[in-house]
Symmetry: C2
Subunit: 492 residues, 2 copies
């Protein structure tokens, strides 16, 4: 892996001075082309050995190109904001939108490697991180991102020489710290772990590019030329109309039984009983949020359901039990321009709660496999891969001591018609019913299938769906509150 | 994951009898269409709960379709042949060629799940298996395979009832063994582990399809219809001319230093010294093969190099030291028809040595990233993904106590010309030089780049390349023998 990067590559000053002006011009052109076409983001990951020119290269790229279109992020010790979210949250925050270049200086690879070098983790844990990183990067490239992962390398001798040279020069002495020398002592172990990591995470879509870091002219020209070529190639690529569908079909529905038809849509609950139950469960929920351990967890609630199934009303019965400072309600409608320029999960990552808080999603990431599937807003392979992407996402949420409760509210077709008509009659409810609701209703059967497939593929032991028969609003609300209380209690 | 498969699906006899004749006819048609077009293999993986109809379904498919075009494999306890090879070897053997259907009854998923259920492995080991399986299945789908993974499910109550019913009926009593009841005791644990496994290995290209196994008519119709639809869809799919290239470019060569130019091509070794060294190292190699521990390892040698670099001569100097019963030499030329109908690594898997044996490859799987790349025999994304596929392959070899030694023999362009001309002059060497050799020589620079990229991406800590300057044949042969001896010694 490191053979080519230990040869002592060198570029003379003459060649460098000759090549750089043209390279900078080309890089600027390709950068503006990218910004104009907005077809994909460029994610530059910078890693490698200390003293191999990582930081200099980051600065140089900002100098060579228009820094207004470059987002540069370094990742020192995580902030408290970051520590309260899943590990990948800080990287999601840093993703560049389509049309921009993001430079991630020490990205998601750093902690798994360093932890393993320092013996904080076992080999198997490193493998788990590797698997997660591969899945994450695959999601990014499937979403269209161009990922360039540069690994700046020095041999042990080279690193020693380089650290000494930096120390000797008064202008660069500040660059070398005791930590650097401390880390130099573990060079062999660092090399071994990174070699393994690089090998395992070099996929064809996102391979590591190992660059010898000794000679700054060689290093800079190599990175510049590769970046140019990669962007040019991708920009010139004619988009293929339709990718071949490599996904097998879903389970056929050959009888009339499925998770929705099997659901009891709810017997009426008497108003008095409802009022009493509501008080009980809201009280218990409120009490739980004041439990001393509650400040170490966060709660994410997902509400999905047909139009007029009563999501809004159910959510209000939940929030009534909460201190307004502890929750945030997120209604999901069409994505904003900023959100459309990112992978579809981005808009949900940005809304994840801190510890001790609730986030309540009124519709959610499941739009990908519901409305986007049914309406054809994304391709079949896009929504097919979403099932496992969503499972990955939710696993990350749960590994961060979050409680995730997912509700599907189901009403009968007749009940929906009744509610639609009521809404049209009542002046203060009229805003709730639109042309779109009627159009969706015409696709009832398609949504029905999509919901069944969604439950089949994303109701997991760690993040099960709770299907709620919602023909009776009272009963549905009580069931929802009860479920939330039970899930939080189990997690405390 | 199992919600839909615990609803008590049922198909009446009337509907079944009405639908089956047409389904069988359609299945036969699609099967012949597949056999004729030979575009892809169909791999049906059968897994699930005991008593859920796995075996019955396998029989039924063979009954419904033309069994001559179906390869059915079960995987009981591995044979000694199989135990001496890497875990995946038996499954590679069972892969159906393009145009055929292969039914794998209990495939690569069984051991990881069962071992975890019985507590023989830790959670992290299961994760490692999962990662390997995902990479393996991705390779298969990238190579064009249609993979259908059926998981036959029963709820705990259903399984109990089913086992009892089978036991009661004299015709089926033999199906239920003590092991089945023993395993029933771990139902909950089995369910938990499989749920996790199914979730993690359900990718968009190869998701698990969970089928309720209770009602044999429901189960059979579901599998038949899904199989039909999946094959029809894939056969009707118009092949896309050219897939978008999602691979970033390789490291640019911006100076004249690379692993090949940096290589010392060899100073002449005197004939007498050579004869003495040869005897020494051949002797040591022979001795090693008689070491008591040698019978627990296998040795795989890979020889690559330019035309006329001396691979054949070097290989002969190795085999001279070996008992003819302990090695097999595999010259790799164009693949046979049978081999072309399989993933490109298949032809190498079939040649893996048993314990205590050598396999010597004269050219190898690296053809994918050398000749196939340079000549355009496969697409860029095909050879780009080959680097990690090859690394995966070699990791499996090594995890099986194999010693893998990879040689690249490098001669200068002038030396090659000299050797070509000599071959043309000498009658008994003339068979060694063909038009193709001259054509390859014209692509010297392209091969040069391909070799550098190959070393960069596949010379790993566990499976390094040994680059051999081969202008001097004597020196090259001694270096090769020495390397083999050292590597075997280190492994013993």
């Amino acid at each position: 892996m490191f053979e080519s990067a230990e040869l002592g590559h060198k570029i003379s000053k003459e060649i460098y001075d000759r090549d750089v002006p043209k390279l900078r011009e080309d890089l600027l052109n390709v950068q503006y082309d990218l910004a104009e076409k907005k077809r994909f983001p460029v994610i530059i990951v910078v890693g490698g050995v200390d003293g191999a020119g990582k930081s200099e290269t980051v600065n140089l790229l900002n100098e060579w190109m228009d820094p207004r279109h470059i987002h540069t992020h370094a990742f020192p010790e995580p902030s408290d904001e970051e520590r309260e979210r899943p590990y990948m949250w800080r990287f999601w925050r840093a993703l560049p939108p389509r049309g921009r270049i993001g430079i991630l200086f020490g990205a998601w690879h750093t902690t798994p490697i360093v932890d393993r070098v320092l013996g904080r983790t076992k080999a198997a844990q490193l493998d788990q991180s590797i698997e997660e990183i591969i899945r994450f990067e695959k999601m990014l490239t499937d979403e269209g991102a161009l990922i360039l992962k540069f690994w700046f390398h020095l041999s042990k001798q080279q690193q020693k020489k380089r650290l000494k040279a930096l120390e000797k020069d008064p202008k660069t002495r500040w660059r070398v710290t005791d930590t650097d020398w401390e880390r130099f002592k573990s060079y062999d172990r660092f090399r071994k772990v990174s070699e393994y990591f690089i090998r395992q995470t070099s996929t064809s879509e996102a391979p590591w590019i190992v660059v010898e870091g000794l000679d700054h002219r060689y290093r800079s020209l190599t990175v510049g030329k590769l970046l140019l070529e990669a962007m040019r190639e991708r920009l010139d690529e004619k988009p293929v109309e339709r990718l071949p569908d490599k996904t097998p079909p879903m389970l056929p529905h050959i009888d009339d039984k499925d998770v929705l038809t099997a659901l009891d849509l709810g017997k009426p609950l008497k108003k008095e009983k409802y009022a009493k139950d509501l008080e009980t469960w809201q009280g218990r929920l409120n009490l739980l949020t004041r439990h001393p351990k509650f400040k170490d967890m966060s709660v994410i609630l997902v509400f999905e359901g047909q139009d007029a199934a009563g999501k809004g009303g159910a959510i209000r019965r939940v929030t009534q039990a909460l201190d307004a400072r502890t929750y945030q309600g997120i209604p999901i409608a069409a994505p904003t321009e900023e959100e459309r320029a990112q992978p579809y999960l981005w808009r949900f990552w940005r809304q994840l709660p801190r510890k001790g808080r609730f986030t309540i999603f009124d519709r959610s990431w499941y739009g990908r496999v519901l409305v986007e599937r049914v309406e054809g807003f994304c391709s079949e392979s896009d929504w097919m891969r979403a099932y496992s992407e969503i499972n990955d996402f939710e696993r990350q949420l749960l590994s961060n001591h979050s409680v995730l409760v997912k509700f599907w509210l189901q009403i009968s077709k007749e009940e929906q018609l009744k509610r639609f008509k009521e809404r049209e009659k009542t002046a203060f409810k009229r805003f709730k019913i639109t042309e779109e609701d009627w159009r969706n209703r015409n696709k009832w059967d398609q949504y029905h299938l999509a919901v069944c497939d969604m439950v089949d593929r994303t109701s997991t032991a760690i993040a099960p769906w709770t299907l709620v028969g919602a023909n009776d609003k009272y009963g549905a609300r009580i069931k929802i509150l009860k479920t939330i209380v039970n899930r939080i209690e189990a997690a405390l």
